[in-house]
Symmetry: C2
Subunit: 138 residues, 2 copies
Amino acid sequence: MPYTPPDPSVRATMLDRIRFNADGLITAIAQQYDTGEVLMLAWMNREALDETLHTGRVCYYSRSRHALWRKGETSGQVQTLVDARLDCDRDSVLLLVNQKGVACHTGRRSCFYNALRPEGIVEITQPEVSAEDLYGTA
Amino acid sequence: MPYTPPDPSVRATMLDRIRFNADGLITAIAQQYDTGEVLMLAWMNREALDETLHTGRVCYYSRSRHALWRKGETSGQVQTLVDARLDCDRDSVLLLVNQKGVACHTGRRSCFYNALRPEGIVEITQPEVSAEDLYGTA
């Protein structure tokens, strides 16, 4: 079913209930809505979550760039929102999304590819797309 | 298949590669290994992750109590580790677990029960266990 955005006043009321941390952020987990695969963990500020709920297109907050991070804006690997769910202490959100292509900047479907195994850290998946294809070259 | 712990020297090498934040913590996502349900998000310090990898029983770090938090120690709702996977920037870990009973302190299977919907915040699941049954009463 298509995502239906809450109207601005409902969004504002919901956002007021969220417990952003001292930096104004919450953790956000992206999960592929149909397969259940956990794709990535990132952060959102109030503005990023508001935009995500409004547009149905996932927007994070980049802690390194100190700016909104519209997922897929450069790479085309966008996340379409299906449902957003806040946890019990209201400082983390689970995003059920439809991921186009790959979530990880390494070209892998999921960021969680380093398994901690008896033999050490094992990469359990390989890139499906090259960085060149994701971000282009000069 | 049963979980096989890495030996102490392998664990130490793996833990050295993890990027703990300024407070010495990383985020940890618990996911039910067979159904894919995301159960909760919590935090781990080096000691908590080391214990988890050693024992195969999930141990977090409680930011409110400033102490190790052996999941289920009081409630009995333990998480048995199946696999642990570090993300691409090595500051978040996905734990595939077998959750006994419920993960959430509210008695719900998952902590992510507050859906952000057009009509507002909607509780999409109800408690399966009472707080009394989870934590006892005087």
